[in-house]
Amino acid sequence: MYLKSAVKYQIMDGRIAIPVFYLVMFSVMVLFSISVSGLGEGTFATISGLEMATIIFLFVVGLNAFRETFRMMMQNGISRKTMFKGYVITVLILSIGMSLINAVMLWIGKAMVATKDNVLYRSLFEQLYEMRYAGNTGGVQPVLEELMFMICLSGAAMMFGYFITTLYYRLNKAGKIAVSISVPGILIVGLPIFDAVVTGGMIYRAFWRFVAFAFGLLSGPNPYYAMVSSLLAAALFAVFSWMLVRRAVIKD
């Protein structure tokens, strides 16, 4: 009962942003298809990026999903627990829903450029895992696997955004400044310098190896690695977020 209302509220929160996002994406797609249709023989173009845009969009949705919602829930007698459960369900619904829409958009995009041999419409998934489906591109399996891959990745992105925003909410001013300076400082400046000077690029290589491993690029490639990794990441961020939300209080 309360949970249903909490989910409804959090989904309705995106009732403007999501349509706008797709409107922009669709316009870009159409414009691109038109502009590349004039390309002469011998020039090739690849259209992609809808998936990355969606992942980033959902990350931003996660970033904006806490403060105002929390205040609204407190005003209306909804507990932190119910609000958080509601967010997890919202993540599920948006991840599945937007991944489905993406699949349809991809299909439309491909249909639009189908008659042109020099224009290719490819998804992120296809670029990463094309080796897996060599000679088997028409079946249901790639579509299903891509869908699952996108759902898991979207969920992880939304949970990551939520984790960051709840972390910032809970930190005091000094903590916010400390995190804002130290995290990018270490990741963008400190670590690369340390890596270049002391470890001779080992960390950099290990990092990309880890990413490749987590996405299953070292094993096949196998998208199920990516799905499991994303789910693990989502679960981890969910646990951290809950620990932060559990004792969050209204600040004026």
Partner: protein, 283 residues
């Protein structure tokens, strides 16, 4: 037992003890005045009950159910706070719609009727409402929820005299038709003194009075007369404060007194809630 029971709650902000071991009971279908000076802990207490903040220790029950992080207990309370808790871009109309979602007993027709009566523009964004209309918006929502426990934190902030009058009437009308528990937190005592039945006075995080208005008023009186006569008469009495003007003195006294025992030339008077409050909460 029906009611909101606050048991031994304490809340500290660093060195400041906002609430010190507060226990209080808000019974069913009564109108309470939660009175205290600015910073006495009124809002902190209400925020603890509504789960907006956590007390450091103690327990809170709504109709016998633990209140903290409990949807069904919190679903019985609606609090209009001084602060706006609605999202930045939300319109009045949407806030009404969502309150209806979270409070199933919400009376939409009544809400729209009040909105019309007060001239509240539903198409406005909440953040763009004036202070007065911001209060009116929250008052209307609160009265429309039909929740059994309604908290009003400084309800008449920014309201002009007509609107204040309309608010008290709407509150009483609703209360007569479908009784509820109201807790009105305010430092504007004169206006609510007739409306409230019970009074809870909070001073520096402690509850110093919790009784019916009448009982409280029957225990306070003023004595006026010449300074020397007053001084000797009040020696053995609980004196809240004195005002003097030249040789004349007025003492504010707690207790009961037999008017016949009064020395000649001394006058006895009753204290109203406002005066009593001022003297009770004086430093």
């Amino acid at each position: 037992m029906r009611g909101i029971e606050v048991r031994n709650i304490a809340k500290n902000y660093g060195e400041v003890q906002a609430l010190k071991n507060v226990s209080v009971f808000f019974g069913e279908n009564k109108i309470y005045g939660l009175l205290g000076r600015n910073g006495a802990g009124k809002t902190t207490l209400l925020n603890c009950i509504t789960g907006r903040i956590f007390p450091d220790s103690g327990q809170i029950f709504v109709d016998g159910e633990p209140a903290i992080e409990n949807d069904s207990a919190q679903g019985k309370i609606f609090m209009m706070g001084e602060k706006n808790f609605y999202p930045e871009g939300m319109k009045v109309r949407d806030a009404i719609k969502w309150t209806e979602e979270f409070y199933p007993d919400f009376d939409r027709d009544y809400c729209l009727k009040l909105a019309k009566q007060f001239g509240l523009n539903q198409n406005k964004k909440i953040k763009n409402l004036s202070t007065g209309y911001g209060s009116i918006f929250k008052l209307i929502l609160t009265l429309s929820t039909n929740a059994p426990y309604l908290f009003f934190d400084e309800p008449v902030l920014g309201l002009d005299a007509n609107h204040r009058d309309m608010f008290y009437k709407a509150l009483l009308q609703k209360y007569v038709e479908k009784p509820f528990t109201a807790v009105i937190s305010t430092h504007l005592i004169e206006e609510v003194s007739g409306v409230i039945e019970k009074v809870v006075i909070i001073k520096k995080g402690e509850i110093i009075r919790n009784q019916s208005v009448e009982e409280l008023l029957s225990k306070g009186y003023t004595l006026s007369g010449s300074a020397s006569a007053i001084d000797s008469f009040i020696e053995d009495k609980t004196v809240l404060g004195v005002d003097s003007l030249g040789g004349l003195k007025t003492a504010y006294v707690i207790g009961t007194i037999d008017p016949a025992s009064l020395p000649a030339g001394m006058e006895i008077g009753r204290m109203d809630l406002q005066k009593l409050f001022i003297h009770l909460t004086n430093e």
